[in-house]
């Protein structure tokens, strides 16, 4: 049933969960004259699906690791011709690229209205870094593992 999880897989599980959790916290915080005027998370109007996409990618990575480790589902060795290590690298880099794009994007502000990243964005950003590092560690670990002749 359950197999021992490697450190990169534990990091992917934690990173994916953190990513999904962060998506429910404030992505943007709005302030008028220094006073809080509300917030919106990645699932809110105007941000769903573009801001939600990185969280869904992270959640997919964590789900794959969880299913492989804790369920009896027999995972195919490859997905669309890619090894699972490659899938994790691709998904984590895509999520990181999107989070970086959101970071670089100018935030609109009007007169007194100030828009800043909320805790949700920062949680998602940290989780993305965890996912990228974990995916690369997973790939490196597979390369180091001796193969059967």
């Amino acid at each position: 049933m359950s197999r021992k999880l490697s450190p990169p897989n534990i990091a992917i599980l934690a990173g994916g969960a953190l990513m999904l959790l962060g998506s429910f916290f404030a992505f943007y915080e709005y302030k008028i004259g220094g006073v809080s005027a509300g917030s919106s998370n990645a699932w809110d109007h105007g941000l769903f699906m573009v801001a939600t996409l990185p969280a869904l990618l992270g959640a997919f990575m964590a789900l794959q690791v969880a299913l492989q480790a804790f369920s009896n589902i027999d995972m195919p060795p490859r997905l669309l011709g890619l090894t699972w290590d490659q899938v994790h690298v691709v998904l984590s880099f895509q999520a990181a690229l999107l989070m970086l794009a959101w970071f670089v994007r100018a935030r609109p502000g009007f007169a007194e209205l100030h828009i800043a990243f909320g805790a949700g964005y920062w949680l998602m950003a940290v989780a993305t870094i965890v996912l990228v590092v974990a995916a690369l560690m997973r790939t490196a670990a597979t390369r180091r593992r001796p193969r059967a002749v």
Binding site: H45, F48, M49, V50, R105
Partner: protein, 133 residues
């Protein structure tokens, strides 16, 4: 120049990438293009993926250039599949996202992203990579 004519999948990618690059200068959200303030670079990823894919096809299939067989452990067919599917995913995401009335630029980028995904999947069949079907 190469005398080999591009395959249907390569043509799909070439046309989609080219059209997406042109459409990237049209209005995407409100009065701004994907390169404009408040939109760049989140929306610019879509045409960028299209341009990368189209450039590779143009270099190898039209100009007959020889590129390294693998990049960071990925074959070019895998890179096309990954970029195409991610472009398709982002296209669907932009389609679903409420950005108010969608200008023509956004519709073309969404259609282009889906065309890239279709072209990339079709390329796997043409080149018998075994990745699909």
């Amino acid at each position: 120049m190469n005398d080999k004519s591009p395959t249907p999948a390569e043509l799909t990618i070439l046309i989609a990438g080219g059209v997406m690059l042109i459409a990237s200068f049209f209005r995407f959200e409100g009065d701004t293009s994907v390169w404009g303030k408040y939109v760049f670079p989140v929306a610019a990823l879509l045409p960028l993926y299209g341009v990368i894919m189209a450039l590779e096809v143009a270099c190898t299939s039209l100009a007959g250039m020889k590129l390294p067989r693998r990049v960071a452990g990925f074959t070019w067919e895998q890179i096309h599949l990954v970029l195409g599917l991610m472009a398709g995913l982002m296209a669907v995401a932009w389609f679903v996202t409420d950005t108010g009335k969608k200008p023509i630029g956004q519709w073309i980028e969404v259609a282009g992203g889906i065309a890239l995904a279709v072209g990339a999947v079709r390329m796997q069949r043409e080149r018998h990579t075994g990745a699909v079907g």
